[in-house]
């Protein structure tokens, strides 16, 4: 069997290659992957696919009784339509709320100074409360009659 395998090598010469995998290429760590997924979550829940397909304007506009055009931030009366800005702002709030909870979870560890701990807690609470109530307000602007 060895004789058959060695046949090509009477004609060909094996080159002396010294190839190494570069050291900086390695599989990403868990938290890096989590960061990437969070970024994609931000984009997708902001309705970026809707923006690419339907191409809505960034902000809507309406004219008031004097003929001046005023900007409109939220496309009203429809759950299935959005402007680009409102989508991205809302998905930013979603991620902020999630980040608030993650910060709260990290605030419980030992080894933090008193100042750092108070900062982390207040930032966590702030993130959660602001994002939750802001989203509620946005939804009621978008759908008048929300929760009535």
């Amino acid at each position: 069997m060895e004789a058959i395998y060695s046949l090509p090598f009477f004609v060909l010469e094996v080159p002396h290659l010294r190839l190494k995998k570069p050291a900086f290429i390695k599989a990403p760590s868990a938290m890096v992957t989590f960061g990437l997924i969070l970024a994609s979550y931000f984009l997708v829940t902001g309705g970026i696919i809707y923006d690419v397909i339907v191409e809505p304007p960034s902000i809507g506009s309406t004219t008031d009784e004097f003929g001046h055009s005023k900007p409109v931030a939220f496309m009203q009366y429809r759950v299935n339509g959005q402007y680009i800005m409102e989508g991205l702002v809302s998905s930013f709030l979603f991620v902020l709320g999630g980040a608030g909870f993650i910060i709260l979870e990290r605030s419980n560890i030992s080894g933090l100074t008193r100042f750092n701990r108070i900062m982390l807690f207040s930032f966590g609470f702030f993130c959660i409360i602001v994002s939750f109530f802001a989203c509620r307000v946005f939804m009621s602007i978008k759908l008048p009659g929300y929760l009535r």
Partner: protein
């Protein structure tokens, strides 16, 4: 359908005689109750029973799932989600135990899933993706090997018993990932076995040569088979998920369905509220404690987020994993902070030697605050879900209701009025032409033959109907004579302000009409003004103002006064006075218009007696 029949026969066998119609109506709620139980079991496997209970409670009321599982909605998704979660639960069990018993059960659950919904393609790609992820992170073990081989072999053979699937698992690209992962499993297991038997140097040599050979052979054979068309490429339905603009540019009939539109942020918030905030938290907890099962749920979550962003209908697939992830997150947060709460009469306070941690002031109070905040958030979730379900997902779509300025409700029963008129006043063999949205309703309630219905499987035929609606009267008459049409039915919302009428859908009729060979002369741009707007008033395009759909909707509408201060023929949906008012119809005559002008039926006149 088999499920309904089975339940019906079982009940009748024990002399509980429930009519088959009632079995079908209540099938969806029954299976969603079962889904709740399976979600509990699945989350229990992933984290613990506390998280399981939270996820079961959340999925019981989440609007994203309720929208497709109300009593009376007899569609595939009613049982498909139950089957999908059951398959996933059994898969996680078999990954954790590596036993043949659980793997076989998983294959049987997969067979049930294949028989219920075409979305099984998602499963047969997610499970191999999970196996590949486990290989990539170095977690491949004999348990994974046994589970995947059993599930793939048994599952594929069982799925090929369904006639709709047939030989697709070995021919179409959608199933190739599973096949590839299967092969890779064998190679990986063999390599592990050899590594334990050979010396290091021999192993390295063998491994490198084998890897290169297998890689080259796979690429060559795969490429040759694809080039020879033995392996079919991704079909339109699934390809449009990977490339969302494909449907918009090439297959207008898929792009026109409103459920297939991409999702906006408000759909996410409307259907999930609290869950959109807790989903990243659950992801974070999964990433902190990576295990075989957690990797699976992470993959499921990430792929579902992407697919639900592409198509609103797939929010349904996202709903269970949102609930599971949020439950893991909530359970994690509560688990961390409940430990910190000190109750008034606990013995821990009395320990004098316990040092007060100065770096952590008011520990118990903060923990109580967090628990109270979480409770309030969950309460708001409940209120939101019940409000959404009652407002958006509970009304029958055939009887419309609107509230007037003084708060009273006005009921529009025009659809049923028109269908019963058709039933009682037209010959039994009359054929009705309408857009495909109303096909099933006309067949069921008016009991008349229609040309196209919601099944939408004959694209050319639908395109012909679209051409008839978009052409001027004389051209449309030729098409109607060719298709032997007796009556034409259109939906018109201009009097009442009903926005889902045929004029708003008209552009889709133009697009679909122009998408086949016979409709090449129909171009969408002709129906817009030179500035590119779609207008029905005097500035509107003359092609639009003379087409059949326009004439049928606005016949005699010019004499109607709809709003104070506006001229006659003011369309309340488009907010414009119509351009073409006083016209007569040559080849059709008005047969019936309902009370609020929502449904309008026209009779197609016969050929004139003497040739002109």
């Amino acid at each position: 359908m088999v499920t309904s029949a089975a339940i019906y026969h079982v009940l009748h066998a024990i002399n509980v005689t429930i009519e088959i119609r009632n079995v079908c109506v209540f099938l969806a709620p029954l299976f969603s109750s079962l889904t709740t139980i399976v979600t509990y079991l699945l989350t229990k496997e992933l984290k613990d029973s506390g998280a399981g209970l939270i996820s079961a409670i959340m999925i019981a009321i989440v609007p994203g799932y309720i929208s497709r599982s109300v009593a009376g909605s007899y569609d595939n998704e009613g049982i498909a989600i139950f089957c999908m979660l059951l398959t996933y639960y059994l898969w996680i069990k078999s990954i954790k135990t590596g036993s043949l018993f659980w793997s076989t059960l998983c294959a049987l659950a997969y067979f049930y899933m294949v028989s219920s919904w075409g979305g099984y393609v998602f499963l047969i790609n997610l499970i191999p993706l999970h196996v590949l992820a486990l290989m990539f992170t170095g977690r491949f073990s004999h348990r994974v090997y046994v589970s995947y081989c059993t599930v793939y072999c048994l599952g594929t053979i069982l799925s090929m018993q369904i006639s709709f699937v047939g030989f697709q698992p070995v021919q179409s690209s959608e199933h190739m990932a599973a096949f590839g992962a299967f092969g890779l499993c064998q190679v990986h297991a063999f390599v592990d076995y050899l590594r334990s038997k050979l010396t290091d140097k021999q192993f390295q040599l063998l491994f490198k040569s084998l890897a290169i050979t297998v890689g080259v052979v796979t690429v060559v054979v795969g490429g040759a088979l694809t080039a020879m068309d033995k392996i079919s490429p991704w079909t339109g339905r699934f390809y449009s998920l990977l490339d969302p603009s494909y449907a918009k540019n090439n297959i207008p009939i898929i792009a026109s369905v409103s459920e297939h539109q991409p999702t906006t942020w408000s759909s996410f918030y409307f259907d999930f509220q609290l869950l959109v905030f807790m989903f990243p938290v659950g992801l974070y907890f999964c990433f902190s404690n990576l295990s075989d099962a957690n990797i699976f749920i992470i993959l499921y979550g990430v792929t579902s987020i992407y697919f639900s962003g592409v198509m609103v209908r797939l929010m349904l697939v996202l709903a269970p994993v949102m609930c599971i992830m949020s439950a893991i997150g909530i359970s994690g947060i509560l688990g961390v902070y409940m430990k910190n709460i000190e109750f008034g009469d606990s013995k821990a306070k009395k320990r004098p030697d316990k040092k007060i941690d100065t770096s952590y002031p008011v520990k118990s109070e903060i923990a109580t605050g967090i628990v109270v905040m979480m409770t309030i958030l969950l309460l708001t979730y409940t209120f939101h879900c019940t409000w959404v379900t009652s407002e958006a997902y509970s009304s029958p779509s055939i009887v419309l209701a609107a509230s007037q300025q003084d708060g009273s409700r006005i009921i529009f029963d025009d659809f049923r009025e028109a269908y019963y008129w058709l039933r009682q006043n037209t010959p039994e063999d009359a054929k009705v032409m309408s857009w495909w949205d109303y096909g099933y309703q006309i067949t069921a309630m008016a009991n008349r033959t229609i040309l196209v219905d919601n099944n939408t499987w004959n694209n050319t035929h639908i395109s012909r109907v679209g051409q008839a609606m978009s052409s001027p009267e004389d051209k449309a008459y030729e098409i109607m004579r060719e298709l032997d049409v007796g009556y034409v039915l259109v939906i018109f919302g201009g009097l009442t302000g009903y926005a889902s009428d045929d004029i708003n859908k008209f552009l889709w009729m133009v697009r679909i009409g122009g998408s086949t060979e016979k409709g090449q002369h129909i171009k969408e741009a002709d129906y817009f003004t030179p500035q590119g707007e779609f207008r029905v008033d005097r500035e509107g395009s003359p092609v639009l103002l003379n087409c059949l759909m326009y004439k049928l909707c606005y016949y005699r509408f010019g004499e109607v006064y709809t709003e104070q201060g506006k001229p006659g023929g003011y369309d309340r949906v488009r907010n414009a006075e119509i351009g073409n008012k006083d016209f007569e119809l040559d080849v059709l005559e008005e047969a019936y218009t309902t009370e609020h002008w929502i449904v309008r039926i026209y009779k197609v006149k016969d050929l004139s007696n003497r040739g002109v």
